[in-house]
Subunit: 145 residues, 2 copies
DNA sequence: TTTACTGCAAATAATTTGCAAAACT
DNA sequence: AGTTTTGCAAATTATTTGCAGTAAA
């Protein structure tokens, strides 16, 4: 896994540094979306010799290279995941923040339609959809808690 | 339009201030998604007596009240629109930022499925979908520009 | 050796907040 | 009058950046 990504990066002219190895390992092991802070913390557990700026730079580089994706889950910070992390939909309750995953296959049709009708390749691997979870579907959505 | 929202706000116990009137008018007249800055600028054209903090506070209040929605279009700032702004999908090219709107009806099925299978009321009125526009669909998505 | 990469600390940039003054009801 | 709302300026927070030192290749 990690080896894979490292190899790709080297092929594309990037240098292999222990920081990058650790960051890659962390984001892959997480097996889920993680924030830059999450990665930073996780890496610090293994070695304290890393800087948050490096985490941001590496993460951005991975996204640039199409090896990871960056998703806004509405919590004020971007979340990252490698593309090896299976595609899915995030359903996020705007009242309580409760998050559940929905099956990605729901989007197959949408993806195809968008491509054929708008000539647009939708990147729906880790889309976030906001709304109301079962426990918060009262009639007055606008009411203050 | 504006009167409508004002009335609703008053019914909910909010006070009517010229600032709020101007902000409401601006966001409604825009007829599209606007940033807090956009609103601020627009309102300043009419009257210079308004502060950006008030714009943010009013916009947040409208979202809280369910009268407007806040969408992240991936440009580093949130965009706002009243719910009177017709629902649609934003297709945003991650290479060039080019944005086009797609018909919201594409999501009807998705919305229904999410509700029946996950008991989740998806708020898909102004969803943003990232991907690649017609001009940027090269085979190597990861290549650097 | 060469040039990319990192750490550090300061810079950004959007948004939020505390508090006293102003204004709606 | 009483309480909400505003303006102002400072605080926050996530992320970015300049630059000199460090380390892959």
């Amino acid at each position: 896994m990690t080896k894979n990504l490292i190899k790709i990066l080297r092929e594309r002219g990037y240098r292999l540094t222990p920081q990058r190895e650790m960051i890659l390992a962390a984001i892959i092991q997480a097996g889920d979306h993680v924030s830059a802070e999450d990665v930073f913390t996780k890496v610090q557990e293994q070695s304290s010799a890393i800087n948050i700026a490096t985490v941001y730079r590496t993460l951005d580089m991975l996204v640039e290279e199409g090896l990871a994706c960056r998703t806004d889950l509405g919590i004020g910070e971007y979340m990252y995941a490698t593309n090896q992390h299976g595609p899915h939909i995030h359903l996020i309750c705007r009242k309580c923040g409760y998050t559940q995953d929905a099956d990605h296959s729901l989007l197959k049709k949408l993806e195809e339609t968008i491509l054929s009708e708008y000539d647009f390749v939708a990147d729906l691997h880790h889309i976030a959809i906001f709304g109301l979870c079962a426990g918060h579907q009262l009639e007055d959505e606008g009411g203050q808690e």
